[in-house]
């Protein structure tokens, strides 16, 4: 029998001699269609491509993953014509973690995907020497800005959220919710750092040369966003300073004709998203503009009667930014800030993220809070005048409470269906409960419950992260 064993072992040995090549054979080169991560951040243009890909995704993912539709339905801006989906639950303020948590997951996981990419850019540039300092500063600044930007939307949608600043999935995957204040501290720190790093001018793909496209975050984008963050955290003094810096930068001005505010490279644009070649409509244009009954449209929504009633008569924004369609005898109104819809064949509009008029309203509110009603009035009037309306009545400009209400109203009609501004402002000013208690029954809801201010997170994440808890109330 030993012979057999010898025979076997030797034949195996013999074949193994052939196998010497085996080790080499199974070591294959990296894929030709992909780039190894370390190489991406050793070259300025690939590093830039890694950062700007976030902006393309933002454009394609409906800016804030439908944030303007979701919060528009939750609040009093939009009315749904879909009866059997999470849109209906948003509209009636009956979101339910099990049924809707995963349907709304884009709102949660999308920002975290961008935050991962931003963290990867920050870490990648830190660890590599192949990128010149100018590009490194600009890209790191943009990544920090993006991280701050999305954490802002996360805390405002969900309250406390896990604060992750690295790409290490081993620790990130067991993260728990971080108190909102800590997240805000990180947001502020990131924005202040980004202000220092970012170019004051719009840059092109070289990260340094000046571009006429308002499609990359600049120092002013960071400043404008910082102004909003200060406003949200009640730091009115700093909010006024930052908003003032943007207004006085000389880089931006209000576009006189409301119909031209959302055009590409509009003078009012602090930051816009550039569509990829072949895309001639923004997601807002595609979703909101109705060509048929809203029940057959992609968002299934039209403007609500409550919202349409909010306009003062003669407001150009009611005339220029709202349009309607009649289907089978019924009239449906829809947001018409963006004019290009699916059938457009030329590029006219970019996706607006930050624009100057909001800075006026931020400064106005900050000044009012600081009891500087004169400057506040002037800022509000700037916005009203552009909309073809006269100055605020004296009664308002001398009463702080009326003034603050007037600023909220101005925000409502100026920034409707833009990035969830209405919903977040109502929440910030503690007006959400009272407004919704009134509106919810009008929408056919079963009564407003305060926990609905925040959205449920996807149940899959609660499953996959043992330390993550569902939003309270769900």
């Amino acid at each position: 029998m030993t012979h057999y064993i010898k025979l076997l072992s030797l034949s195996v040995l013999g074949v193994s001699i052939l196998g010497f090549g085996c080790k080499k054979f199974v070591e294959i080169p990296p894929p030709t269609t992909e780039l190894v991560t370390t190489n991406v951040f050793n070259d300025a243009s690939t590093a830039t491509a890694a950062q700007t890909a976030i902006y393309t995704s933002m454009f394609l993912n409906g800016a804030g993953f439908g944030i303007e539709i979701n919060t528009g339905l939750s609040s009093d801006e939009l009315q749904t014509y879909f009866s059997g989906s999470y849109f209906f639950d948003l509209y009636t303020n009956t979101l339910n973690a099990i049924n809707d948590g995963n349907s709304l997951s884009g709102q949660w996981s999308g920002p975290y995907n961008y935050i991962y990419q931003a963290n990867a850019v920050i870490a990648g540039l830190q660890n590599n020497s192949g990128v010149d300092t100018a590009s490194k500063r600009q890209l790191t600044g943009e990544a920090e800005f993006i991280r701050a930007f999305w954490y802002f939307y996360l805390v405002n949608t969900y309250g406390d959220v896990p604060l992750l600043t690295t790409t290490a999935y081993q620790t990130n995957s067991v993260a728990s919710r971080t108190p909102m204040e800590k997240v805000y501290s990180q947001i502020v720190a990131d924005l202040i750092d980004a202000q220092k790093l970012l170019s004051p001018n719009f840059v092109d793909e070289t990260d340094t040369a000046v571009s006429q496209d308002h499609v990359r975050p600049t120092k002013w984008a960071a400043t404008a966003f910082l102004a909003r963050v200060y406003l949200y955290t009640g730091d009115y003094k700093d909010a006024a300073i930052q908003a003032g810096a943007v207004i006085n930068s000389g880089q931006f001005s209000l576009v006189p004709d409301p119909n031209q505010v959302f055009l590409e490279n509009s003078n009012e644009a602090i930051w816009q998203l550039m569509p990829p070649p072949g895309y001639y409509a923004t997601s807002e244009g595609t979703l909101f503009i109705l060509t048929t009954s809203p029940g057959n449209s992609s968002a299934g929504a039209a403007l609500s009667p409550q919202f349409l009633n909010a306009f003062d008569s003669g407001d150009l924004r009611r005339i220029d930014w709202v349009d309607s369609i009649i289907v089978s005898g019924s009239t449906y109104y829809y947001p018409y800030k963006y004019k290009a819809d699916m059938s457009s064949t030329t590029l006219t509009e970019y996706g607006m993220v930050l624009r100057l008029s909001e800075q006026y309203l931020i400064r106005a509110e900050a000044e009012a809070a600081d009891n500087d009603l004169t400057d506040a009035t002037s800022d509000v009037n700037t916005i009203r005048n552009r909309a073809g309306l006269g100055n605020l009545p004296n009664a308002t400009t001398t009463d702080l409470q009326l003034m603050l209400l007037a600023i909220q109203h101005e925000r409502q009609v100026e920034l409707f269906t833009e990035w969830g501004d209405r919903w977040f402002n109502l929440k910030r000013t503690n007006a959400l409960d009272s407004v919704m208690t009134m509106v919810n029954p009008q929408k056919g809801g079963t009564g407003w419950q305060s926990f609905q201010q925040l959205y449920p997170i996807p149940t899959t994440d609660i499953q996959n992260d043992p330390n993550l808890k569902q939003t309270p109330g769900y």
């Binding site: 393309t56 975290y112 019924s330």
Partner: protein, 1124 residues
């Protein structure tokens, strides 16, 4: 060559093994196989020059070996008494040198020119021995030849002398020699695939024996990939489905023909669209993640089992492979790659299941191996065979939907229940549509008949050295959809077998080419069957598409969308072998496959409602190509030797394999006119959806050694060391192996005497390990890839995923034991197997919370999964008369799946997905306690609040009730009757399972009352008023609660899967028509089903989320086969 044990010389068949050095030498020559000389020169005319002084005989042998190329076979003991030799010769022949050398020695020699051997023999036969054996009839030497019925010599057949331990094995020419055989001896000849035969010597010296192909199930050849055996002698578990049985089924995908026929193989036809992927699972789910596909080998070449359909653009009505859910059910979307094989070319399909059979495939055998073997040419008169059938199919299961009054009642009741007024957009109930209309949309959209035509021609012939087979085929299969959609398949096949005159050299070449041209709609029209029954007419009276004032998206417009897929599939394999020494073959196979898929999905402007305006951007042409190239080289050494009463088989080989897959998906849009849409250049924009190039390298060394002692005891050991490029540095290699043993107890004399009724009995057992590397390529690399969209002229780069460099091979350990019993001359064959497979080191896309930026990372999970099962098959010949025969075969599989261990499961992402001790197929659901009589809503058992009911199970704590989507048992029952020229086969398939029912299907998106969508009449039993007792909740315009665990219920069924009736025209007629054979036949598939009333088609109930998909078709065909 020195042999190291005493015994008879190897040439006589009783000898011992060749020495190791020889193997080593051959191992190396194996590599050089391509340059091997076929005829290595003969000894004739060759001369030797030697000069020896007082040299040991061994030294003389060495010199002669080196000059002549001949090899000496001897044992050390034989040389013990030899004397040193002195010899000086110049240019002498081998024979004369040997005569001089052996002149004064106590030993003799024998030259075998054919094998280039010199066999050292004991001295002359002693006179004493001769006298002793000389009683009675005397003895002598026998030379014989063994052939098959076609006259081809059989290589390696075993010839034994009954009642003795002597015997021989035939050479490659089918020759054998036996010495000193008593003239009244009986020879017993056995060979795999042939009937055992006993031949009386009767004093004959030259015998020619013809073996008949076996008709006994036990003796059919069983292909185990690298080697063959028979059911009788197999130590492993292999099921075979013959081409004959496959061709009885009017389907175009050979995998569908296996449904219900193979124990342990669960197949479910989930769609009736031609070319759709079936659900395939062999012995349960071994792996938590994807990667539960068996390994498919077509004639030795690995065949890709993943759909070629581009995940970038999807497969139209067949779905997109990107939609694959890894959620346990094995449902795969996209086009089936097996549809690109020609059914008619298949000789047999073998399913290898246990460790013994699969371990030789090492890392790829974890989920079993399915070997598809194509037909080979047969020698003899050239034969032309023509086979044509035609028929039609229609859906096998209809859904009973509401009629218009019932539908309107549902909708109004829903609004009433919710206290809602009917809004302006509810055209079906607000008077905008004619509420007296009724259309049976099921009939309109999937009620057609799918024509199926198939024609095959083959030509085969050759002689005993060279055989060929040429084949060509065409099939055309329609759909039940409106519009002109088809799946057409054309194929040509060629194979050539050649054996050299000296029969040492064999070569086999086969090339198979199939073109499949599929033209299907852009989506499955089954989705349209739930249109409101009062929806408007499709066309206006003047024949144009009716948009009814733009109140609906008329689905008939979508007919203009076409998803076309053109697949070229080239498969080739070249096999060459050379018999280096008797019993020793050096061989190699060279395989190549190239599959190319070109797809387009054309959406013209007419697809859309004119409400959208004439928008060029709506016209799109998505196109994609996918190319998969595989080559494989497998050099091997095969050794076979009869040793004593036993037979030794050994095999060693190595594999080098490369797979290359390239795919790209693009979308062109912005066509100013529908007529331009096929011309991509006319588009205003072309966008790249994505592209990928992947490379996979795989190599291995493998070996097998088996020993069969007197057909009583069998042992088989296989081993493999594998390397795969799918693992990171230093993690690439894995070792796998198995041992199988069998005891054929019926061959023991004790048993034969004790239990005479049992004609065959075998107990077998095997244990071993296999691996799994079915994960994506490059997962260990951290990479960025292009997102396809430029931003400021720079195309964006996005991270492809999270990276883990530490994952390694997934390991499956398989244990199996089985018993085979044959009764009454094998008229009843019973087989039962028990298996237990355990998988550890689970390779999964480990679920991560999305806050990490991604949802998964490739990793090994610490879980251990166990699949156990019992598989039983019984084959009986119930009646066998002169004209009438009735045979039955029944198989049943009882699979069980269990998660054995999972350290820290509760702290892992899978805490609400799996539970230790339970199957992987479980779902954590709230328990539906029925409908609350007070309000008509589903109510559920509340766990969190300690009992009581809840209508809103929100807390995960309420999701504690486990339901599985799985099979309890399944199998098939075949009855075959033959009477004179008639042959009738009736095949039933049965499955006992739990799966999704209507309640599940209609809660995803189609809840009754919510939309202007129809529902099955099943829902008429809903709650209507307080105190109604029912299990279906009220109608509502809102999405109400899901039924949760009530959505999963018993979905068992029995299906008359196949009936085939054929008639061979009488011989006289055939002679008159100069035909070799002529046969007409009728075949039916999916003819009749017994199922639960809460199901559409039971075969679809396994998908984890149900949609409205076309059920399998009921097919009926008639055909004619003629041989010329």
């Amino acid at each position: 060559m020195k042999l190291t044990a005493t015994g008879e010389n190897p040439f006589r068949g009783g000898g011992y093994i060749i020495e190791l050095l020889m193997i080593m030498k051959l191992t190396i020559s194996l590599v050089l196989l391509a340059s091997l000389q076929v005829s290595a020169g003969t000894a004739r005319g060759q001369t030797l020059t030697l000069s020896l002084d007082h040299a040991q005989l061994e030294k003389a042998f060495e010199l002669i070996e080196s000059q002549s190329g001949y090899t000496f076979f001897y044992y050390a003991e034989q040389l013990k008494d030899t004397k040193p030799v002195s010899l000086h010769v110049t240019d002498q022949t081998l024979e004369s040198v040997l005569v001089s050398l052996f002149k004064d020695q106590p030993i003799g020699f024998k030259i075998d020119q054919e094998k280039k051997m010199i066999i050292v023999e004991k001295g002359k036969i002693s006179p004493i021995k001769a006298a002793k054996n000389a009683h009675g009839n005397g003895e002598g030497n026998i030379n014989g030849k063994i052939t098959n019925e076609e006259g081809e010599p059989l290589d390696g057949a075993s010839v034994a002398i009954k009642g003795t331990k002597s015997g021989a094995q035939t050479s490659s020419k089918g020759l054998f020699e036996l010495k000193n055989v008593s003239s009244d001896a009986i020879l017993v000849i056995t060979f795999i695939g042939y009937d055992r035969q006993e031949v009386k010597v009767n004093g004959g010296k030259e015998l020619t024996i013809t073996l008949k192909h076996s008709t006994n199930e036990l003796d059919q050849t069983v292909i185990k990939g690298y080697y063959n055996t028979s059911e009788r002698l197999s130590t492993g578990d292999v099921s075979t489905v013959k081409g004959v049985d496959i061709s009885k089924q009017p389907v175009s995908d050979p995998i569908l023909a296996l449904e219900g026929r193979v124990p342990g193989l669960y197949i479910s036809q989930t769609s009736g669209i031609p070319g759709a992927y079936a659900t395939i699972q062999l012995r349960g789910q071994n792996s938590i993640a994807n990667g539960n596909n068996p390994l498919y080998i077509v004639d030795g070449v690995p065949y890709s089992s993943s759909p070629l359909t581009s995940s970038f653009i999807g497969g139209g009505a067949l779905g997109s492979p990107g939609n694959n859910n890894s959620n346990n059910t094995g449902v795969i979307y996209g086009a089936s790659p097996f549809n690109n094989l020609n059914m008619a070319d298949i000789e047999s399909i073998e399913v290898l299941k246990d460790a013994d059979a699969t371990a030789i495939y090492g890392s790829r055998g974890a989920n079993g191996v399915i070997l598809i073997t194509t037909k080979k040419g047969k020698g003899g008169a050239t034969k032309l065979d023509v086979n044509v059938f035609t028929g039609a199919g229609s859906i096998a299961s209809k859904m009973n939907l509401l009629n218009t009054p019932q539908y309107l009642e549902m909708r109004h009741e829903a609004f009433r229940n919710d206290n809602r007024t009917i809004g302006s957009t509810f055209y079906d109930v607000n008077g905008m549509w004619d509420s007296t209309r009724y259309t049976n949309w099921q009939k309109v959209f999937i009620g057609g008949t799918a024509k199926f035509t198939n024609a095959q021609v083959s030509l085969s012939g050759g002689n005993s050295n060279t055989q060929f087979l040429l084949s060509g085929g065409y099939s055309n299969q329609g759909t039940v959809f409106p519009g002109n959609y088809t799946d057409q398949k054309a194929s040509v096949g060629f194979n050539l077998t050649h054996t050299s005159v000296n029969r040492k050299f064999h070569a086999l070449l086969f090339i198979d080419y199939v073109n499949d041209n599929s033209d299907l709609p852009g989506y499955d029209f089954s989705q349209n069957i739930t249109l409101a029954p009062d929806a408007p007419a499709l066309y206006t009276p003047n024949g144009t598409i009716n948009w009814q004032n733009y109140t609906w998206n008329n689905p008939i417009a979508t007919l203009s969308e076409h998803a076309k897929a053109n697949t070229d599939n080239l498969l080739g394999n070249f096999n060459v072998s050379y018999e280096v020494l008797p019993g020793l073959l050096a061989k190699s196979s060279f395989g190549y496959t190239n599959m190319q898929l070109n797809q387009t999905i054309i959406t013209p402007g007419t697809y859309f409602s004119p409400a959208y305006g004439d928008d060029p951007n709506l016209r799109s042409n998505s196109y994609g190509t996918t190319n998969v190239k595989t080559w494989i080289i497998e050099p091997q050494l095969v050794y076979s030797k009869k040793i004593g009463l036993g037979k030794l088989d050994a095999l060693a080989g190595t594999t080098f394999q490369e797979n290359q897959q390239n795919s790209i998906g693009q979308n062109a849009y912005g066509f100013s006119n529908d007529a331009l849409i096929t011309n991509v250049a006319a588009a205003s924009t072309i966008q790249i959806y994505g592209s990928s190039n992947t490379l996979y390298h795989y190599d291995a060394i493998f070996g097998r050694i088996s020993y069969n002692w007197d057909d009583k005891y069998l042992i088989n050991a296989t081993a493999r060391r594998d390397g795969s490029s799918r693992f990171g540095p230093d993690k690439q290699f894995g070792d796998f192996g198995a041992v199988g043993a069998a005891w054929i107890f019926s061959n023991t004399s004790f048993f034969k005497k004790a239990v005479p009724g049992i004609s065959f009995g075998k107990i077998k057992i095997s244990y071993g390990s296999t691996g799994n590397d079915q994960i994506s390529d490059y997962q260990y690399l951290s990479t960025y890839s292009s997102n396809g969209y430029p931003y400021q002229n720079l195309t964006g780069l996005t991270p492809t995923g999270l990276t883990n460099t530490d994952y390694r091979w997934e390991l499956v350990k398989k244990f199996e034991t089985g018993i085979d019993v044959g009764l009454w001359k094998d008229r009843v064959l019973f087989n039962a197997n028990y298996y237990m497979n355990r998988t550890s080191n689970q390779l999964v896309g480990y679920a991560l919370p999305s806050i990490t930026g991604f949802s998964t990372v490739e990793a090994n999970l610490p879980a251990v999964i166990q699949n156990t099962g019992v598989e039983i098959s019984i084959n009986t010949v119930n009646f066998k008369g002169r004209d009438f025969t009735w045979k039955s075969s029944l198989n049943i599989s009882i699979p069980r799946n269990k998660l054995i261990s999972y350290p820290n499961l509760s702290g892992s992402p899978y805490s609400q997905t799996y539970e230790v001790g339970k199957p992987l197929y479980i779902q954590f659901l709230p328990h539906n306690t029925g409908v609350k009589p007070a309000n008509g809503l589903y109510q559920f058992q509340s766990v969190v609040n300690h009992g009581g009911d809840t209508t809103t199970p929100a807390d995960p704590g309420d999701f504690q009730f486990l339901k599985s989507i799985t099979q309890k048992y399944y199998g098939g029952f075949l009855n075959s009757f033959s009477y004179k020229g008639f042959q009738l086969d009736i095949f039933f398939q049965f499955v006992n399972q739990t799966g999704n029912n209507y309640q599940q299907l209609f809660t995803n998106n189609l809840q009754p009352g919510v939309f202007d969508a129809n529902v099955p009449t099943y829902f008429l039993g809903r709650w209507q008023q307080p105190n109604d007792m029912t299990n279906i909740q009220r109608f509502s315009t809102f999405r109400l609660k899901k039924p949760y665990d009530a959505g999963i219920s018993n979905t068992s069924f029995i299906r008359l899967k196949n009936v085939s009736l054929s008639y061979n025209l009488p011989g006289k007629w055939q002679q008159k028509a100069h035909l070799q054979n002529a046969r007409i036949y009728v075949q039916g598939q999916n003819l009749w089903t017994i199922k639960n009333s809460n199901l559409w088609d039971p075969e679809q109930s396994m998908a984890s989320t149900l949609g409205l998909n076309l059920p399998p078709l009921r097919m009926l065909t008639v055909g004619l086969q003629v041989g010329l």
